[in-house]
Structure formats: C-alpha cells, structure tokens
Amino acid sequence: MLVFILRRLLQAVVVMLTVAFIAFMLFQYVGDPVTSILGQDATQEQRDDLRRDLGLDRSFAVQFTRFVGNAVQGEFGLSLRQGRQVSTLIAERFPATLELALGAAVIALGAGIPLGVYAALRRGRFGSQLVMTLSLLGVSLPTFLIGILLILVFSVTLGWLPSFGRGDTLQFGGWSTGLLTLDGWAHIILPAITLSVFQLALIMRLVRAEMLEVLRTDYVKFARARGLSNRAVYFGHALKNTLVPVITITGLQLGSLIAFAIITETVFQWPGMGFLFIQAVQFADIPVMAAYLCLIALIFVIVNLVVDLLYFLVDPRLRIEKSTAGH
C-alpha cells in the first residue's frame, strides 16, 4: 500500500512538472516576462536590470528551476491586464469558484445517482425512457445556453432570481462566502444548476450503464437464486458494486466542474477564477493563464490521489493480498 502511494505521488510530481513546463514555455516564448513583471511602462534600463536579475541571460535549465521555485511559492508576477499580483487575484476569486463547483457537485450527485438507479431498475418503462431522453438533452445543451435559458425564464420573465454576481458575501479571514446569506443563496442557485446539468446527465447515464451491467452478473443471479428480497439484491448487492467504478469518474468530475465553471461564470458574471481566466485569454494575459493552469493541474492531481485512496478503502480486492491456502 505504501508503495502504491509513493508511486502515485511520483506520478503526480511528473504531471505537475509537465504542466509547469508548459506554463514556463508560455512565459518564455509567448509573452514577454519582463513586461509581465514590470508592467507596460518601464524604461529600457529597468528592463535590462530586470533581465539580469531574472537571469534571463542564463541557461534554460536555470531559468526553469527558478520558475518552478517561484511557482511553488505561488509567485507568478503581475497580471498584464490589471497590473496586480497574480497570486492575489486568484486567491481573491478562488472561494467563489469553489463554492459554485461544490454546489453543482452536490446537485449532480444528489440527483444523478438516484435517477441513474431508477433508470436501470425500471428499464424499458416509460419513466426510465423519459429520464434517459432528458439526460440526452442534458449532454446536448451547451452549458452557456442552459444559463441563458434559465436567466430568460427566471430573471427576465418571472423576475424571481437574480442573474449576475454573487450577492451579499461574508468575509472570514481570507475566505469570502455567499452561503451564509439569503441573498447569497438566491444568487448561487441558477449558476449552480447550470453548471451541474452536464455532469448530472453524465453521472446518470454512467450509473445506469454500470447498474445494468452489474444486474447481469452471476453473483446477482445467484443472489436471486438464494431468494434474497429485491431490496437486498438491488440496493445491497447491485448498488454497492455499481458505485465503486462510479467513484473514480465522479472524483474526476469535481476537477472538471472547477474548469467548466469558466463558462458559467461568464454567463452569470460570477466573480470567480474562471471569469478571470477568460478575460486573460481574451487579453493574452500570460501570467494569469499560466497561474490558472498550474492551479487547475494541482487540483486535479490532488483529487485523483484522493480518489485512488478512496478506491483502496472501498474495494477489498485491492487491500488484502490474495491467499492461496488450501483447496
């Protein structure tokens, strides 16, 4: 088990280094590092000094090491567009994105898994087909369109819910949360639903497919042959075996949610990291892009590790060594 963790950690480091490399290349060849640190209005002398200080006249390896060193401390320089520290910008906006992603995850899982189970158990009946068609609609509607439609219905036509921003937030040290105010809740509902739809549809289809597979296995047949009740067969045996592979996918989805938040944040003008990233892409603001990239990679890597550990906890086949005692 220890070996396994070490191996995964090593893989994680490799991935992070690769991403750091890509980010570094961005800095070197796409943007101008000097400009990104000093800003647009710097004298030639200042540029030359900085060039020397930064070691831009040094070898590639030295520069890369320095970059990684800085990155690990969260130092990415100044935003080309806003002139502020990139790390500050991102830290300010991180809570907004995280809350949005968590909200969407709760909706996607809380609705997706039961619906998927329902669609598997009631296969062929009308309810199940309706659910499956809706899920197909869910993956055919682009996220931004869902957001726009929700705004059209609930903000423009009905006027029930607000359509942009986060509403009232409370500050706790470095963390600002919108979940403790009624206004904050009103603001998060539509964006969270928008962000969750795609994942919900995916999870539902996945759970259904897995459950159908599991329902055809020999051990389910044997469980039925032993006269176990439907509840025991479906929810005791089938569901547990279904959820094990679902864990991996769901874990990956959390990281995906944070990235897809880009779109939702744009539609609802939600002040999160994603919105920041879009503005950076439009403006070719390399430092922000690079920092966002590294952060997302870090989140993914951590989530992957956690999911792998969860697998260990849930599947006994991975935990215990196979014994070959006796016949």
Binding site: V30, S140, F144, L145, L149, I263, I278, L293, N304
Partner: protein, 311 residues
C-alpha cells in the same frame, strides 16, 4: 418455424435490409426521427448558399437600418427576414444555415483530425510497445487530467498571442486543432487496447513468424475490430465538438466575428435579452440543440445497435 436459407447468395442490398442494424433503426422511432433531423441539418448546411434567402457573411449586403427586427409574424417584423435580424442586420434564417454549416464543418473536421491522431497513436503505441508505448500513455494521462474546454481555450489563447493579426483561415485552423486535441485520447486508448489484445493472439504471432509485415497485420485485423467503438465514439464526439466550438465562440474566442457561427449569434443575442429581443439568441440556440441532440441520439442508437449483447 424458420425460413430455410436462400440458395443463391443475396446481394448486398438484401443483406443490409435483413441486417440487425437496419432492423433496429426502422423499429426505433427515435433513431429515425434523429436521422431525419440530422439529415435536414446536414442538407441545409451543405447547400446553405442555395437554400438561404440572404448571405449573412457578405458584409456588403448588410444594412444597419435592418438591425434587430423581430420575426416576420410579430409586430414590426419584415417579410424579407422570416426569423428577424441580429444587431448587424443579418437575416437570422440565413445566419442559422450558414452558422450551422460552419459549426458542422468545424465539428467534423476536428473529429476527423482527432480520429486520425488518436487511432494512429493508439496503433503505434500498441504495436511498438516498450518506451514508445509508455511515453504515449503518459501523455494520455496528462491530457486526461485536463478538461477539454481548458485545453481548447489554452491552445486558442496561445494561438492568439502568437499570431495576433491572424488571417481568418488560420484562426479557424487553430480552432479546429484546439478542439481536435481535446478528444484524441479516447481513440488512442481504445485502439491501443484492441491492438494489445490482437497482438498476443496466436495468428498474429504466426503471421510474424512467416514474415508478414506488422503494418499489414494492423490494418487487416486490428482496425476492423476497433471500427465499431471508434465510430460510436466519433459520432458522440461530433456533437461534443460542435458544442465546444459554440462555447468558444460564445466566449468570444472562437470563430472570427465576421463569419458568425451559432455560438457567436447566441453571444450577440445575449446582450439584448433584457430588452426583450429574444429571437437573436433563441433561434440559433434551438438550431444548435437540434443538431447536437440528433447527432447524440444517432450515436446512442449506433452504440446499442453495434453492441451484440444488448440484442
């Protein structure tokens, strides 16, 4: 009771009509409806210049005084513009057709590229084995860590930064490349898996002993086995590619603004939602969803039809 098998070998048409795929298509109203809609969309896209009443991409024909007209059946509408106009005076109906054409073109091109890259790398990885295989799989792992939208945005962003004054065609090319690079991993993995399975089979080893070139083995035996799953994947990915392109255009980093795709139109319309001019957003939205939905339905049906266990 059963019918005895025919004495003469049936021609390919009869075989097709008797096949399970055709049968499951005909007995599924969903599949037929989806097929019909997809066919319609492809038709109007291919023949957009001939089917549309106007050419929305031709800047010379646009007249700003025609801007933001509502659909013809509403008050203030103009019979010339059946579904209304956008903020530049473009006829929405024509823009729908041309936009659909652009979306489909980008979608199909990127999936084609994806399939080529993915299948190629998968075959290479499976057959070469060793370090090459390990390297390609590492790349796959890293790429899978990234959500597609991020990859597309990044490549696009980098492209913009590197070529700030790019020509339209170059911008489109970067877009296609960006979308293509988000999807190739799945093909690579599937094909690699099948290649590994086939490679260990005795007949392949026997062929190698005789001296048949590995390339030939790959094409003759591995490819037919993976065509099914690759086809299903590709169909579903076309829908995803179209949606990705629409999203990128909506975010303002997709197709060039002078040749609007469905996503661009939606973005334009978004600004006018609150003033009640809903048609600029809704009609392109409906068209987009129809295309994506019908392609997804076809992909779903295809997967069920090709899966021998579900029959």
């Amino acid at each position: 009771m059963s019918t005895p098998s025919p004495t003469a070998a049936p021609n390919w048409l009869a075989r097709w009509r008797d096949s399970d795929i055709w049968h499951s298509f005909i007995t599924s109203p969903m599949a037929m409806l989806a097929g019909f809609i997809a066919f319609l969309c492809i038709f109007v896209s291919l023949f957009a210049p001939w089917v549309s009443p106007h050419n929305p991409f031709d800047l010379a024909t646009l007249n700003l005084s025609d801007a933001r007209l509502p659909p013809a059946w509403m008050e203030g509408g103009d019979k010339r513009f059946l579904l209304g106009t956008d903020d530049q005076g473009r006829d929405l109906l024509s823009a729908l057709f041309y936009g659909a054409r652009l979306s489909l073109a980008v979608g199909l091109a990127s999936v084609l590229l994806s399939v080529l890259v993915g299948v190629g790398l998968g075959l290479l990885s499976g057959f070469a084995g060793g370090k090459v295989d390990a390297f390609i799989m590492r790349v796959c792992d890293v790429m899978l860590s990234f959500p597609s939208i991020l990859v597309a945005l990044l490549i696009n962003g980098v492209g913009r930064a590197m070529f700030p004054n790019a020509q339209d065609t170059l911008a489109l090319g970067v877009l296609v490349l960006a979308i293509a690079l988000t999807g190739w991993v799945q093909y690579a993995r599937t094909v690699r898996g099948s290649t590994l399975v086939e490679r260990n089979k005795e007949y392949v080893q026997a062929a190698r002993v005789i001296g048949v070139a590995p390339l030939r083995i790959m094409f003759k035996h591995v490819l037919p086995n993976v065509l099914g799953p690759v086809l299903v994947l590709a169909t579903i990915q076309v829908a995803a590619a179209i949606l990705t392109e629409a999203t990128l255009s909506f975010l303002g980093v997709g197709v060039p603004p002078t040749s609007p795709s469905l996503g661009t139109l939606i973005r334009i319309g978004n600004d006018f939602l609150f003033s009640g001019e809903w048609w600029i957003t809704i009609f392109p939205g409906v068209m987009l969803v129809l295309i994506a939905l019908s392609v997804n339905l076809l992909g779903d049906w295809l997967r069920d039809a090709l899966n021998p266990r579900l029959r």
